[in-house]
Symmetry: D2
Subunit: 296 residues, 4 copies
């Protein structure tokens, strides 16, 4: 992938993006929240719960790309204002999706991170427009995209002047109908190998089944993901979109505990190896010089 | 697919769209031209050649969605003006792709048909915007889209007020590397069964190999396609995009002859069957009452 | 595909296989019959009907590879004896599937052509065993196989000493659930380009929907297929396997008429072109020197 | 998947298979060794190394299913004798692949576990034959198989009388060319949910890239896999098959250390939760009553 002038890994340095207190690409970051912003009460309830459980950022969709024009399309501006209110109360930065070139400018006034969804991964007009604003963007992998196709998309954003792109694996389409998508965790070490950008994993869309979220979230962390994006809803049966795949706040709370214990164990294991990593080791430096662990 | 309020087949009638002298959905229509509008000389040369060979419409891209930001992105407005000139000289209506919601209005002043490419099939903002203009749209199938996902997209256009949608099968992605895509000709009878909209086939992108265009174009016509879209270039080796899959004007001329003989044979065969089609036959009426041939 | 020592096309000559009166690879050959041999009465009824309609060969499974061990597994030897009886009465050669290396020898005493099913395409032990017997084999494409993987399989048979291999495209698995498989008609001209072996198409398994069989059979012939394999059953609702996709004898009869008219039209078109085919034309010679038509 | 009479999960109990000292399905088990048995020296060298690093079982192929008949096909009986010698010296049980129904009986005299490869997953004759012998079988997932198709295959073995089936995820084919296959780790919790059989993961074939084996092995363990199968070769550049994806013995040794630390951390985390797992929790009991950890 030598054609990647800006997104490709060129030396040992990795991108670390600061959003408030977060150091994305350096510390494990968990983003949680509802699929759609449905009401102030719903969003604030969930925002408080995920904050309490230890999430670092709040997610919520105000513009929803739906297969059918007759499905709920999101609250739009009203939804963005609710997100702003949740941020003001909880202190959590917010991430929300943008769909239309005409909305990029004003949506970026509300969002701390803009999200480009899987269906828009190759909406090149949208990527160019996002390249002009001063907010980071999370670029989800298209459900059919190869690594090379995916990595060409941050190239559009970076080339237009915005250096802060986060990649997010969210599952690809395969022949398996039991899961909604097939979460490709190989994408995590692959993106670390091919690019300097942070890589997140979304086990919610990546599996579409509540019972798979915990094991796949654990696996994502063990594979080296920089963060997770998880959907949480206190009343999944009433959710206006994707309710069946949302965790309850108490499930999310248990998950956060397990993830933190796992990350601690991985960090301890890394420290014990210290500098003994051998020849050919891709040693990833970061802002503060901490050495990352991929050890061949 | 009962959820399709507007795009679904509800009775025997089929949509026929008049563009100039063309009756799209009724008479076999062949659209031909270069992948990209590159210059006035290039476009006019090709336009004259395809007109001479019997094409009914000219294609040419002024905005190109490219995987890499460093590839040729199209001539934009200048390209649209060249297309207008080619139409003025040859009398051929023109079809061209639109990528951005902000461009829909003014591009539709130049184009006779707007094209939505495979990568934008589920760009719902774009579809809604196109639903507001008074020009027909050709909606290409996404390279990964199921029939149900595809048919939800015209629903956005139709619901927004534009009744003139043409579907175009252009190949799906499979594991086969020898062809660029796998042309799914089953989509032709499937769309006839599920929808009342005209269905075209693009054997150029659908195979990506010059030597497959002729047999697959013939097969598409035999499967009942309402039209074909074929890329033609007089100097493929110099083309700014997709040259290797373009037919030479003389190859296109031979193809037109074969297609016309095939269509004549199919029409004769249909006539000889007349009204003897049996129980369960989906008899498709059209504007002028001519009976179509699917005979079970 | 230069590694194909035996299956690859090396010069203009094509394999023609004589089975009784049939010249497979030269004349369009239609194979028809039930999915499974269920009883003498069932098989003879269908054999007579397809003979009457003009089929050249009878198909019928005595060993059935089924996803579940609790599904009907075929009549075995009893089924082979029924096929032999049908052949004796109608004069139609028979083709039947073999699943196990231990069965190849004795099954080939009953069958005129052995069939290797899609699931066994890469059962290399089976292919080697078939390479030792003196009967032609029809090798179905695996539902996930690339052209290169497929063409390596006849290599096993040819290398073991059996020169008579027929390829059969029967649909690949894609993301489309409306059809059972996606019939890849590009495989027809591709196999003509890459190999000298005859290529058949099975629109029954390739679509899994009765209403698609006719248009896709027509398309296969227009694409240049050497033959078709079609399932026919006089009581589909009672069939022990795959009933819903079987044509009724009267539907098959209509189809044969249309196919024959189409082939006549294509032959006439070829003759009218005569020797005017241009530079780079892959002119396929055959046993009797007749020139085939691929015209670039 | 209610149709699974024997392979489906019916109550909380899970299958545990004892092979020598191993309790497969209960303790994390790592199988390692070369792709192919090439020589006594090669196999013994690798066997000693993986034993030293802590592997529980030795792998090595004596019959190789190869795409081309001109590739190395394995040493056959000679290879099995070498495996027996390696077992005698190291005490490691051995697993090896069987391809042909005629070989099942005598190969099972040499192997401790029989392996059915991805290409033979639906070789139903082979599965039935294996159902008759008294050795466990590891059934690899076909590279295109759905969970339902996969789980129907142990059904053939179990129904024929052999209760000891191990499942092994080894990657599925997707559109990603950078990896050899896409390792579907969701299969681990999915098989735990749908079946009582042990589930292994093969990160070697599942990625095809040395640098991905460690992160994906770690992820597999975190996802709850019962074991791993990893290819190791001391001279990968000279290997007769799949050398480029084999770990060096010293890399394997590092991996074993990291895996063991990870498993310890996961076990500690489980114990600390004890019996507090909530409503709807699939608590998996095993032979000795130890509670497994899936905690929703």
């Amino acid at each position: 992938m030598n054609h990647l002038k800006l997104a490709g890994r060129k030396n040992g340095l990795r991108t670390v993006i600061r959003v408030g207190q977060l150091r994305i690409g350096q510390d494990l970051t968990v983003i949680a929240g509802p699929c759609s912003v449905e009401s102030e009460e719903q969003t604030l309830t969930i925002a408080r719960a995920v904050k309490r459980a230890g999430a670092g950022m709040l997610r919520g969709g105000a513009f929803k790309p739906r297969t059918s024009p007759y499905s709920f399309q999101g609250l739009g501006l009203k939804g963005l204002k609710i997100l702003a209110k949740a941020r003001a109360e909880t202190g959590l930065p917010v991430i929300t999706e943008v769909l239309d070139t005409r909305d990029v400018g004003w949506v970026s006034e509300y969002a701390d991170i803009l999200q480009v969804g899987a269906r828009n991964m190759q909406n090149f007009s949208l990527l160019k427009e996002i390249g002009k604003v001063g907010k980071p963007v999370m670029l989800k992998r298209g459900m059919f995209a190869t690594y090379a196709e995916w990595l060409n998309c941050p190239e559009y954003v970076l080339d237009a002047g915005n250096p802060d792109v986060i990649l997010c694996e969210r599952g690809i389409r395969t022949f398996e109908p039991w899961t909604r998508n097939t979460l490709d965790l190989s994408a995590v070490p692959a993106m670390k190998e091919l690019s300097h950008l942070p890589v997140f994993v979304d086990p919610t869309h990546g599996t579409g089944r509540v019972e798979l979220i915990r094991p796949m979230a654990m696996a994502a962390v063990a594979a080296g993901a920089d963060g997770l994006m998880v959907e949480v809803h206190h009343k999944p049966e009433n959710a206006m979109s994707d309710g069946p795949q949302a965790l309850l706040p108490e499930q999310f709370n248990v998950l956060m505990g397990e993830i933190n214990r796992l990350q601690d164990a991985l960090d301890a294991s890394t420290d014990s190896q210290g500098m003994q990593v051998g020849k050919g080791t891709p040693v990833y430096g970061s802002e503060d010089g901490k050495v990352r662990e991929y050890a061949w």
